[in-house]
Amino acid sequence: MSLLIYGLINSVILALYTVGFSLTYGISGIANFAHGALYILSGFAAWTFMNAAGLPFWLSGILAVLISAIIGFVFYWVLLLRLRGIPLAELIVTFAAGVAILELLTWKGFYGIRYSLPVLVRGGVEIFGVGIDYQRFIVLACGVFLVVGLWLFVHHTRIGLAFRAMAQNERTALSIGIESDWIGSLSLAFGAALAAVAAMVVLPLGVMESTIGYEVLIYALAVAIVGGLESTLGMIAGSFLIGYGQIAAARYIGAKWMIIVPLAAIVFVLAVRPSGLFGKFKELEERV
């Protein structure tokens, strides 16, 4: 039973890591390698608002999400505008920006066990004999809310539809009056904001450290690749596969194999089914 429950929670955490990355890539084709850095940056930002400015957690959380979104937006106009269409340069620039953020954070002294966000509700309950803390419930709820909300947003709002248009065919989208730079920068802003939201609910589970940035990036890549980069369903499936895989490996093989699971999953899935589990649109021509 605990395998089921913690597997579920682990999967939702992975989905939260990925959702922003996958959104940005799905729309504008930019693999934002600064995703992990933005994630942890917003965590530290929230901490600073709380401890230096004395704001309550919910307010600092919202501010951190806003800041992250603005950074994502600015990233596009400052860093990526001149480089659109050169994947190599895009990748290196976003990665370097991410590393720069992480390094600046450590340099400013943001490391060590004092940096920890508080949980919203302390304590926990027992369900079917398995103890779970409330914070993990919040993670669960938030994950479901985000994925459903995102689906509704993309399918039923003006900007969302423009996003999808961009994803399907940039030129046609341009010709019907969707401005591609504007949508591209919005996609980065949304991705960054989602990373921050994930940080706000997941980070209180532990302490903060800038190396988490790399980890989140790797997990996000793993899930996105396994599921298929552009489909929401694939992303969910990918996070469940890896999430449960990890917990099961820890339980039955040995805890130290947990980290190997996602990596092995990627290599295996790509070797066997290159389009990912649920990759649809851009299936063969682009991947193989």
Binding site: P87, V93, V99, E103, W107, L263, L270
Partner: protein, 336 residues
């Protein structure tokens, strides 16, 4: 507004137009024009170790090693394999050389060539299942594989586990290591340029541009791709083996992300596609990173900043920019 009325016009220099043809032999000036960009850097690189102190010589070796990785990246990219896992090549070579020396006490004369060849074969074998992938998907697999191997070493504890293998055989003289690195780097550079300009390279480049048409020409592209993987893998493994003996140590950090990302950064900075760009990029980036050590904690952040700015300002790469300045002149013209 004023900018709109003018445009930049680029024209080949006269000497370039003249020396483009076989008549180059006609004058010493033209021969110099052709040879200088090739010979001057080579000569500088070969003479440099004699004038540097020991620490900067280490940096030079480091630069050559990253240079080799960058070259191997560029080679793969020339046949359409966009890799993010140069550290796989590096780490395999390093571990093969290290293990041979540690467990069987083989001398460096044996371990380095064996590691180079075996590393190449292993790389090709490991990546062969995913060879049909393209673009970002191939990149992801190559990014993950070294991390996976690193975790495997950590978890299973093979080859010394987290502690690595230390006290390996070193080079009898430091200069030997330095020149081995430099010569390996130069040979690789000119060999790769040669290969790419020959018929063999033509096919590889054709695979990058349009693999279907190469297939319809009756050529087995997967066999070609695995050959390319072998060549690139051997170059990377040579770098790894060299590093292992130079530092007399090999550990799981040879699979670290640095060895994957920095070569790509070097290529992005220098300009892809010509090998010279990759070489130039690593010769700039590595000494820069060392010079920045004086700054302490901010080092990597500033390094990233410089990288970002230079890529944004010169998206084509340093080498292409320099080559253009060398061969062409520009003038502003009024638009009629």
């Amino acid at each position: 507004m004023a900018e709109r009325d003018f445009r930049k016009k680029r024209l080949d220099r006269g000497i370039k137009a003249r020396s483009d043809t076989i008549f180059a032999v006609a004058s010493t000036k033209e021969i110099l024009y052709l040879l200088a960009p090739r010979f001057v850097p080579v000569a500088i690189l070969l003479l440099l170790p004699l004038f540097l102190e020991s620490y900067w010589n280490k940096v030079l070796v480091y630069a050559c090693i990253y240079g080799l990785l960058a070259l191997s990246w560029d080679f793969l990219a020339s046949c359409g394999l966009f890799s993010l896992g140069q550290s796989l090549f590096f780490g395999l070579g390093a571990y093969i050389a290290g293990a041979l020396n540690y467990y069987f006490h083989l001398p460096t004369v044996v371990t380095i060539p064996v590691a180079t060849l075996a590393g190449g074969v292993l790389c090709a074998a490991l990546l062969s299942p995913v060879m049909r992938l393209r673009g970002v998907y191939f990149a992801m697999v190559t990014l993950m594989l070294p991390l996976l191997l690193m975790k495997v070493v950590e978890t299973t504890g093979v080859f010394g586990g987290t502690h690595g293998l230390s006290s390996l055989a070193g080079f009898p003289h430091e200069m030997l290591a330095i020149y081995l690195a430099i010569i390996g780097f130069l040979v690789c550079l000119f060999l790769f340029r040669r290969i790419m300009n020959a018929d063999y390279g033509l096919i590889l480049r054709a695979i990058r541009d349009d693999d279907r048409s190469v297939m319809s020409g009756g050529i087995n592209i997967y066999w070609r791709k695995s050959q390319a993987l072998f060549i690139a893998g051997a170059a990377g493994s040579f770098a790894g083996a060299l590093m292992t003996h130079h530092y007399q140590f090999v550990g799981m950090s040879t699979f670290a992300l640095d060895y994957s990302i920095l070569p790509v950064a070097a290529v992005a900075l220098g300009g892809p596609g010509t090998f010279a760009g990759a070489a130039l990029g690593s010769m700039i980036l590595v000494p820069l990173s060392e010079a920045l050590r004086a700054l302490g904690g901010l080092r990597i952040a500033i390094y990233c900043g410089i990288l970002i700015v230079s890529i944004i300002l010169l998206p084509e790469g340093f080498f292409h920019y320099l080559a253009r300045k060398y061969h062409q002149f520009e003038r502003i013209e009024k638009i009629k």
